[in-house]
């Protein structure tokens, strides 16, 4: 049972990581909470459903197309909504409220277009999982684990060895100052939304395959993705993935003893604990004042 719970925790963590990593990239560069990030995954999932199940386009076209659409979606939100607000020097709180508004709008739009019922994407057949020392894991779940692992390695390398990581943090801290050093701050911000949203698009695809599609799926995941990012440290890119695994494992092992209904409660307790005791998360760099 331990092994199965471990696998369950890793799978749950991987899914949260897909959301938290993209979110972390955006937060690190823009210093406000883009709650509508979850909606990017939702829109991607529905787009995949529409093109694959509705129009019958083969997956080797729809998969990359979906990721592209997701990146475009995030980019447009930044361009059309956040940038104009930022130009008026609105605070991060206002931007957060705007992002919540976008999130609600998108969820309802998806419901309007596709209905509230759960949509099942039957691209790959579901079957009995592969047995492994008494625990079961399915091919899709293995694929998710591998993809997230690759993502983690990529982000860690990027963070440690790349100048771009530092540039992103500089842009987040003081875009005007960054400009004086010759950095095109706005373009960096655009890129953060493109890359972060592309990852959310990937998340949408994988989650649609593993868990099916519902209008509110992105919002639920965003709450957990946000918690994961806080636990790992919102300003640490690899940290967001570590935080996701911590959350996934704690949730699944937590309900070994507690009734399963407490799963969400565990997530919130963890979030609260970190916010109170260590707001910069496990890997957060936070010398001095709280963000």
């Amino acid at each position: 049972m331990f092994l199965q719970l471990l696998i369950n925790g890793l799978i749950a963590g991987s899914i949260y990581a897909l959301i938290s990593s993209g979110f972390s990239i955006i937060y690190t560069t823009n210093k406000f909470v883009h709650f509508a990030h979850g909606s990017t995954a939702t829109v991607a999932a529905y787009f995949l459903y529409w093109t694959f199940s509705g129009l019958g386009i083969p997956i080797y076209i729809t998969f990359p197309l979906t990721i592209f659409v997701a990146a475009l979606f995030g980019f447009l939100i930044h361009l059309v909504i956040y940038l104009p607000l930022k130009k008026r020097k609105t605070s991060s709180v206002i931007l957060l409220i705007a992002s919540i508004g976008i999130m609600i709008f998108c969820d309802n739009l998806m419901q309007l277009l596709f209905g509230a019922n759960v949509k099942i994407l039957s691209i790959f057949p579901h079957g009995r999982g592969i047995e492994f020392l008494g625990a079961y894991i399915t091919p899709i779940q293995i694929a998710i684990l591998i993809i997230v692992l690759i993502l983690f390695v990529g982000l860690w390398t990027f963070s440690k060895y790349s100048r771009l990581g530092k540039i992103m943090r500089a842009v987040a801290d003081n875009p005007e100052l960054a400009k004086t050093t010759g950095i095109n701050s706005v373009r960096i911000q655009h890129w953060s939304f493109v890359i972060g949203s592309a990852i959310a698009g990937l998340a949408g695809i994988l989650i649609a395959l593993e868990h099916n599609i519902e209008p509110s799926m992105g919002t639920h995941l965003m709450i957990q993705g946000f918690t994961a990012a806080v636990i790992g440290g919102v300003t640490s890119l690899p940290g967001s993935i570590v935080g996701a695994y911590v959350l996934g494992l704690v949730e699944n092992f937590g309900i070994w003893w507690l009734p399963s209904g407490y799963k969400s409660a565990i997530a919130f307790v963890l979030l609260l604990a970190f916010l109170l005791v260590r707001p910069q998360g496990i890997f957060g760099i936070n010398k001095g004042a709280r963000e």
């Binding site: 060895y161 790349s162 771009l164 943090r169 500089a170 003081n174 100052l177 050093t181 010759g182 010398k287």
Partner: protein, 245 residues
């Protein structure tokens, strides 16, 4: 090198700059002086591209840069510092110094992977910079752990480290103690020897006397007098404008 032509700027009905015209010559240290509110920092903002003037042009090496974006202007070779020291909160000294390098080339791939050897060379260069500036800290020190004087020095170090043709310093010695002030002065003198082009804003008359080749006195952005330090600083119109301080 830099020409200001007919610049006018108002903020909410108040005319900060009524019509500015002057030229900054190469290889000289030019000082902008004037009472508070004379529009000096505003001119810096306009030159560096952070604000657009209502009227007029800024020509840099013959090119009209009035409407260009700040980062483009920075990459054309204009370095500036701020009156209130501005640095990146959560980065280290080393980060700041590496931040100013080569930003004209934003090639993503190049920026993601840097050869180890290049990194080592840069490391040594930066350590030398710290030594030159007398900043007794390591490259890994966070900004929050520096004293005010050290931050001011770092700001200037960054401006210098950045590939530049024109250095704009906004009150480089304001608020520092005598020791650091002397350090910065000596630094500027060294730069003068190296024939750097510097545009300086400062209130310290003595300092201006010692450093500047050319002085421009402004009041509401209008040049009321310019010339060699001796002449300008004794000019009655200038003294009158200052007495209002």
């Amino acid at each position: 090198m830099l020409e200001i032509q007919g610049i006018k700027k108002s903020f909410g009905g108040v005319e900060a700059i009524k019509g500015s015209n002057f030229i900054i010559e190469k290889n000289k240290i030019t000082a902008l002086i004037g009472p508070n509110g004379a529009g000096k920092t505003t001119l810096f903002d306009i030159i560096a591209g952070f604000t657009r003037p209502d009227e007029g042009r800024v020509l840099y090496e013959g090119e009209d840069i009035t409407d260009k974006e700040p980062h483009i202007i920075a990459n054309l070779g204009i370095s500036r510092t701020f009156q209130q020291v501005r640095l990146f909160k959560n980065l280290t000294i080393g980060d700041h110094l590496s931040m100013v390098e080569n930003n004209g080339d934003m090639n993503l791939i190049k920026n993601i992977f840097r050869k180890k050897k290049v990194k080592r060379v840069k490391q040594e260069t930066y350590e030398q910079v710290l030594e030159d500036f007398g900043i007794k800290q390591t490259l890994e020190t966070h900004i929050n752990d520096l004293s005010f004087g050290q931050r001011k020095l770092l700001q200037i170090a960054m401006a210098l480290q950045k590939p530049h043709k024109l250095l704009m310093l906004d009150e480089p010695v304001a608020g520092v103690n005598k020791v650091i002030q002397t350090e910065i002065e000596n630094l500027l003198l060294k730069l003068k020897e190296k024939n750097e082009t510097i545009l300086l804003i400062d209130h310290d008359i003595e300092l201006v006397h010692r450093l500047a080749d050319h002085v421009i006195a402004l009041d509401a952005g209008i040049v009321i007098c310019e010339g060699a330090p001796n002449e300008v600083l004794k000019n009655p119109k200038v003294l009158e404008a200052y007495l209002g301080e």
